[in-house]
């Protein structure tokens, strides 16, 4: 019970915080994309998918184990052996994504792994997408002249969840909603 609650807290809160923070950091580093978000209402949809691919909140799914012998890419993983799934690495697979290290919100066929896959596909994916789309759009539209105070920001040391400890942003004023 306690471990389920801990999982829900982390999965439901911290991942989205990191998605929004990593997203804003990426937007500040790509001012032309930030400008586009201000003027194109539907742009947030594709933008968030590319942010999910390029800067995912969850980099590694550790503590898995094979429930039977499985073969992946010519290697057999024996039943019971531990597995760590490197989602963020899969998201930069050059065989799946041309110019994988380039941040490109116009990317089509963006089959990223950031919500994992199969029957345990992230339960909160629709909520996370909506939160990130709304939050980033509002920040882009309402903050006048936003700029990073530290780039790169300080990161938490976790190899699993990726995100800054905090992201300090200065701005001139806030537009009304």
């Amino acid at each position: 019970m306690i471990s389920t609650l801990v999982l829900l807290l982390i999965a439901g809160h911290e991942t989205t915080v990191n998605l929004i923070t990593n997203g804003w950091l990426t937007l500040q580093r790509h001012p032309e994309v930030l400008q586009r978000l201000r003027s194109e209402p539907r742009f947030a949809i594709r933008l968030v998918e590319e942010l999910l691919r390029y800067e995912p909140s969850v980099h590694i799914l550790p503590f898995r184990s094979a429930i039977s012998d499985i073969e992946v890419g010519g290697t057999t993983i024996r039943m019971g052996h531990p597995i760590a799934v490197l989602l963020a690495s899969g998201n930069r697979d050059p065989q799946c994504f041309p110019h994988a290290d380039r941040f490109d919100p116009d990317r089509t066929d963006n089959v990223h792994l950031s919500f994992a896959g199969g029957i345990h596909y992230c339960l909160g994916a629709p909520l996370a997408r909506l939160e990130a789309q709304l939050a980033l759009t509002q920040l882009a539209r309402r903050l006048r002249n936003p700029r990073l105070l530290a780039d790169p920001p300080p990161y938490r040391p976790s190899p699993i969840l990726r995100g800054p400890v905090h992201l300090a942003v200065a701005y001139d004023s806030v537009e009304p909603a």
Partner: protein, 98 residues
């Protein structure tokens, strides 16, 4: 607006049904009922649904082209356009295998 679902890709994740329930609906666990010509007001929801598909099985054409009537026959309930005019696809491989 026209919507096409690639049934060789669709695996029944149902993300589209969460994001645009007016245009996409799961029938049981394995079949997706969808509207091939959703109304223009649903544009944003349908785009969200297409972007969220984990296997990118949805193609959306926003150009307002004439749409041929669907060939499939679906039993229509009164006032249920999706049931009357929708198309159904059976979700693919991993569902079938599990």
């Amino acid at each position: 607006m026209r919507v096409v679902v690639d049934l060789t890709k669709c695996e029944g994740y149902a993300q589209c049904a969460f994001l645009a329930p007016e245009a996409f609906r799961m029938v049981g666990d394995e079949a997706l009922l969808f509207d091939p010509a959703p109304s223009a007001e649903l544009g944003e929801k349908v785009l969200r649904a297409a972007a969220a598909c984990p296997v990118q099985a949805l193609q959306v054409d926003l150009a307002d082209l004439p749409v041929p009537p669907p060939a499939e026959t679906v039993v229509a309930a009164t006032d249920d356009r999706l049931r009357r005019e929708g198309r159904i696809v059976v979700a693919g491989l991993w569902k079938a295998a599990t």
